[in-house]
Amino acid sequence: MTETTYLQAITMTLSEAMRADQRVLVLGEDVAEGGPWGATAGLAEEFGAERVRNTPISEAAICGIAIGAAQSGLRPVLEIMFVDFLTLALDQLVNQAAKGHFMSGGQLQVPLVLRTQGGAGQRGGAQHSQSLEAWLTHVPGLKVAMPSTAADAAGLLATAIADPNPVVFVENKTLYFRREEVTEQPPALPFGCARLVRRGRDATVVALSRLVSESVAAANELAGEGIEVEVIDPRTLVPLDLDAIVESLRRTHRLVVAHEAVQHGGFGAEIVAQVQAAAFDELDAPIARVGAPFAPVPFSPPLEDAYLPGRAEVAAAVRATLQRSRLDDR
């Protein structure tokens, strides 16, 4: 075992992929300098400016360049510095990358990884703090990964780079510097394979990204009240491991879905819809959702803190769902 961070796991995976495959290149704003957090630090020194390409602040064009390069045989890893700026590249991502294989009748492949990061909590204000993953899950042809730990970041990124399809890899800025014990070489992780983070018998929490550790903290708190919560991290939203969620629900019969994104129209709603269609009879209470309110992320520290869902909101949702049952409603 060795200690690492989410960020170091990403850097290490990128450098290993570039060492193993000449076709892998990294491009994005300031990547040769390592980027604002250092995710690509040292790559330019090892692999040179041709394969670690600084770009102008032209999100649309660099996304298109990465797609064209992928179609012509490279394996680009494009960094969009904040998911908020992905808005500028969405035509390329949605209309070109996601549909290239399909519209060409299978002739083209777009093995592109688009790394980006989202999330609030650093007083970044409404344009540098969003969680926009639900938009991406709505586009057939894209895969969406959202790692919550260093080991998962490494394992999912390795799989993303090897995938013949465009993958959006959504990191979280508040997770970057957490220390974590990992094996020397975290294994590549298949997509569509959820992680059972914590076992429990009373309720299941399906949590994304930063909310995974918040949900574990909530579970530990609830354990003191005699409530045992199971926590599941889907790890990839597309493809989604619905079976793992349903299997857990068969044990607990109560479900809470938790993410930092605005609850309204968030990916939690999709999980809820799929679960009730697959396992309605297993539910002893309505499925609860935890997400941000329907408002942009506020800047002022006490407002941002109040806005962000976390441990307290997950714990409250679990308690609420345990207080309801089908019998009560009759």
Binding site: A61, I62, I65, G68, A69, Q92, S104, Q107, K143
Partner: protein, 306 residues
């Protein structure tokens, strides 16, 4: 050029007969650009096109049969019926994609050029777009990057004077597309796009440079869109050219006239070329009509590559 002309005219008829489906944009009148450019490319040179793509696909080597089958949504179409008129792809012949989003294809060509360079090939990437694309922000972003990275890509603008329904003068104060890119130091030239020899000559020079790794270049071809923006466009925004005026501009008739004057093309050969083209197009129509529609299951099958 006759193959493109005959194909496009027939597609217009088949659109009105509801045999060709969807939004159809014809390149009648612009054949000189497709022929002058694509005729000099190798199969492994990469071409990107836009919504008015049939001529580029044909000139790059795509079979008339498979293009026609694609326009009819048939299983033997270039894209197995999943692309349609605005999204033709023929990887075997280097057509890496037409896109229906104006200007969206420009950075893709840069990416292919980058891949060619990093993988050690000498292929050239070419992207066709109209004058309407130049007002898109992604066009300027792409020109900046292509020059910054010195990519072996040739930007070919078909300036037909209209961005959809609107004349260029109503979209921008910059008359020449080649002037838009001037500050970036792009090697550039504006030619009469209805003079296939002029297109060919200038493009040959650019191609030799790009083949040697230089770039980018921009070739602006002034041309004329004979049909509306799309088939069915009532064209209330402009007067049609008088027949005699068009005959003076028509790239095919101009080449025939100069060929006759210079003694290397007689009337019989010209007629035979037209006749051959029209027969090939009829054969393509027969092929496409006989091809079945793809199975409904194909939609789910090709969302992801495996």
């Amino acid at each position: 050029m006759w193959r493109i002309r005959a194909f496009e005219e027939r597609v217009g008829e088949l659109t009105r007969a509801d045999e060709v489906h969807g939004l159809v944009h014809l390149s009648v009148g612009q054949e000189g650009v497709a022929a002058g450019v694509c005729g000099q490319l190798r199969p492994d040179d990469v071409v990107y096109s836009g919504h008015r793509a049939h001529g580029h696909a044909i000139a790059k080597g795509a079979s008339l049969e498979r293009v026609m089958a694609e326009l009819m949504g048939r299983t033997d179409g270039l894209c197995r019926g999943l692309g349609g008129s605005m999204h033709l792809v023929d990887v075997e012949h280097g057509l890496y994609g037409a896109t229906g989003v104006v200007a969206g294809n420009v950075p893709l060509a840069l990416g292919s050029a980058l891949a060619h360079r990093l993988l050690g090939g000498d292929q050239v990437a070419v992207v066709f777009f109209g004058d309407g694309a130049v007002q898109g922000g992604i066009f300027v972003e792409s020109v900046n990057l292509a020059t910054l990275w010195r990519l072996p890509v040739i930007l070919v603008c078909e300036n037909n004077g209209f961005a959809e329904f609107t004349p260029r003068s109503a979209h921008t104060n910059v008359e020449r597309v080649s002037d838009v890119v001037a500050p970036y130091g792009v090697e550039r030239e504006t030619v009469d796009g209805n003079d296939v020899v002029a297109v060919r000559t200038t493009f040959a020079r650019f191609l030799a440079g790009a083949r040697g790794g230089a770039g980018p270049m921009l070739l602006e071809c002034l041309t004329h869109r004979v049909r509306g923006h799309y088939e069915g466009d009532p064209e209330r925004y402009r007067e049609a050219l008088a027949a005699e005026e068009w005959q003076g501009l028509d790239p095919i008739l101009r080449l025939q006239r100069s060929g006759a004057a210079e003694g290397w093309l007689d009337d019989d050969t010209s007629s035979r070329l037209e006749q051959d083209a029209r027969e090939q197009v009829e054969e393509a129509v027969r092929f496409a009509r006989e091809s079945p529609f793809p199975p409904v299951s194909l939609t789910a099958e090709l969302v992801y590559a495996s």
